[in-house]
Subunit: 253 residues, 4 copies
């Protein structure tokens, strides 16, 4: 039996500003990554988001970021490893405590935006994140880009990981994502994106931009939460996967 | 045998800016209240402060505040009770997680500045704080102004409390602190301040500004951490209390 | 000939989060109040907003606020008058410079949210705001609640003012707005709101909640910029006023 | 007659946290660069700093930064040129307006920290800064690292510039500063630092780390404002330069 996790970033409203359609999305994913207040989210948004996630029964993760509200955590920042450790420690601790106070349990951690990208390419940053997560709870699952340093460093520390793949992004022959500034970086056709997800999940390969089939480990698929079509896509990929017999459920702790 | 707790606010540096003489102060107090990042402290300051506190063996508390870095949490803000609950939940959760990740344990919570003052006078705010603390860990001790709503609301919820008194502030006949804008609000003479502390601890009374002796419950004495004389005062009051046989130790959980 | 100004708050997006339909709204108002970065807006949002306002030919005002991004400047904060002076000085200076750098001119200042409300009721806060505005440019027009301290203090300092009225809020017999927590505070029926605006503009009276007609000075009408119906309402009131011969144009400097 | 400008960063306190000895330092420098609120400074600190600078008669500059209070603007951030333009426009506008409101005049702009370093090496960032400055006032003088892109891009746009040198930093044979992580990056001996400043000012050369004398343009010398010895150094270099007949005065507009 093939199983896969579908994960989605949520809780990315801030103050009066709304983003995403969190509640509806939670019906179609098995895991959610909750913004921790550094790129989005505030204490009230976080508490409400976690309450809803507990009600919906999805696996709850922390989604820590560089401190950059204006840039939504997407702008590169260069921080010493120690500061990265500290900011992950702070954010994940906050989320874990709120989960538990509300009767839930923190299940995983997935770094956000520029921090996620740095953790993929820079082993020291990856290690700092993994060490922070481990210091909080060695049973937390660390989500990272499939094949990246975040996965390998976490495994070196003995953490359980989830290799993340993207349905709607193209891959290079070396297994990395095609950078967003390339014209063919994004797969805009929904059925092609779903087809790529199915290929990755069922065959453990992806067809790179040069046509070559390369191996890829797919344990969780990232579903984008924002934009008009996000909900449609989430439902579509969920139903398509179920139709071919794939079971959608969170990574086991 | 008479025992008392001496507590001090610490971890109030931010980024490059330093405040207080935390490490030295910890030799003379039994409990510390660590800023949580909303009025002072950042993830790195917090982590280092808690590491030091664990090494020094003092009881560690969270010191949550209104979100007001520029005003150091001292400016009045009017927030709905629900938002107060949420911001206490977030900050205390972060501190608890960091303590535990570093091998320590969170012992208590003391609201900071304007939040502390509102919690003293406003029972709804007091209750929101107490509920947040209880939701995280019902064994956390809530520190509040002696005789205030924060103490009574926490007790109504079944939380253990610590009634806080001030050595260097004068009291009104009704047991409230003389407001800071009154000329006689602060006791500047160190020996008079220590004498007032001793009176409160040993006789459970304080002499109000009108000369009347009034009852007061003193379980923890606040030691200010900043200013040139803070360290001297902390050592002085510590040694003076020990000299008369008072045992200085944290509130028992 | 009767003239009136219609003003609207704009530039209230922040980072990735969008708010309002600024560009379309500018077709139906004569003045705009641009958020300055303290309750909403960031340097990029502000620059783009002012560029659009210059293109549309509307009168551009600064919309300074308490520093409270999470609370959208709507939460009461208690600041010393001097700090209020300083934060208005900073925000209005920033907006003025950006306007001029882009080839425009700053026309007016309208405090936002909790600062607006405090300035209406507290003469010291009103005076601090007016002094900051005057120190920057004595020809700036200060917008304030009709009949409030902000208007009188600004006039005491020799500033030109614009008395603001609300089409969709009810008034008390003493000329103040019915507080928002009262059931009849808001006029939800668009045609009634427009009728109230027309009455205020043409007869210089408003019918208070007790049925009494009271005098009111109406120089500018506030048009809310957010919500689904905001654009409809703006067009409606604009066309209704023009239909009865009222000229819509900015307050003359 | 040889003249030189001595400049110093000031106004780098924030809220309750103090930094530097601004008032005393202003007696020994001819120009000051005032933090604009993004890496340090808040509206009240800025206003007070500018008031003092006007009283002391030093030339006042804006010292804009990346938005990074916790990192004091020293952490690398990667922003699109347009956002750099916008944040310089905002910060310099705020400072210019405050100067003028208080009866002074903004004289120059010097980017801070990581923004200064990026502007030295990256011509697009340099150009974005120069364009923002020019759009505000084409007579503002742009301070940048001697020989850097910030100087050349500003000159391409027709702006007046000031080539900045450092008394206490060593130079590489190619004229760049030795990176701070090199052991010989900083000249700790005060008399050697002053000797280097005198050499740069009087001979238009500096002796690089390999012993080679290389040409350098020195129009303004950076005096560090923080640290215990800052004031001593400022007085020392000021008096040493005067002793050999160098006139200390701001760059002429």
């Amino acid at each position: 039996m093939i199983t896969i996790d579908l994960n989605c970033d949520i809780g990315e409203s801030f103050g009066i500003w709304r983003m995403g359609n969190d509640e509806a999305l939670m019906d179609w994913v098995s895991s959610v990554n909750v913004a921790c207040g550094f790129h989005a989210g505030d204490p009230s948004v976080i508490r409400k988001t976690i309450q809803t996630a507990i009600q919906k029964g999805v696996a709850i993760g922390a989604h820590p970021s560089f401190p950059d509200l204006q840039g939504f955590g997407r702008r590169e920042m260069k921080l010493p490893e120690e500061e990265v450790f500290d900011l992950v420690l702070y954010q994940v601790s906050a989320l874990k405590g709120i989960c538990e106070a509300l009767g839930g349990q923190l299940h995983h951690v997935k770094p956000h935006g520029a921090l996620y990208n740095q953790a993929a390419k820079n082993s020291s940053i990856a290690r700092a994140i993994a060490e922070a997560v481990k210091s909080i709870d060695k049973n937390l699952i660390l989500f990272g880009l499939s094949g990246s340093f975040l996965i390998s460093e976490a495994e070196n520390l003995g953490l359980k990981t989830a290799s993340e793949v993207f349905a709607d992004r193209t891959y290079q022959p070396d297994g990395t994502l095609t950078p967003r500034n390339f014209p063919n970086a994004v797969i805009k056709d929904t059925s092609l994106a779903i087809a790529q997800a199915i290929q990755m999940i069922t065959t453990k390969t992806v067809t790179a931009t040069n046509g070559e089939k390369i191996p890829i480990k797919a344990e969780t698929v990232c579903i984008h939460g924002d934009g008009e079509k996000a909900l449609d896509f989430a439902r579509n990929i969920n139903l398509s996967l179920k139709k071919i017999g794939v079971t959608i459920k969170p990574i086991a702790r």
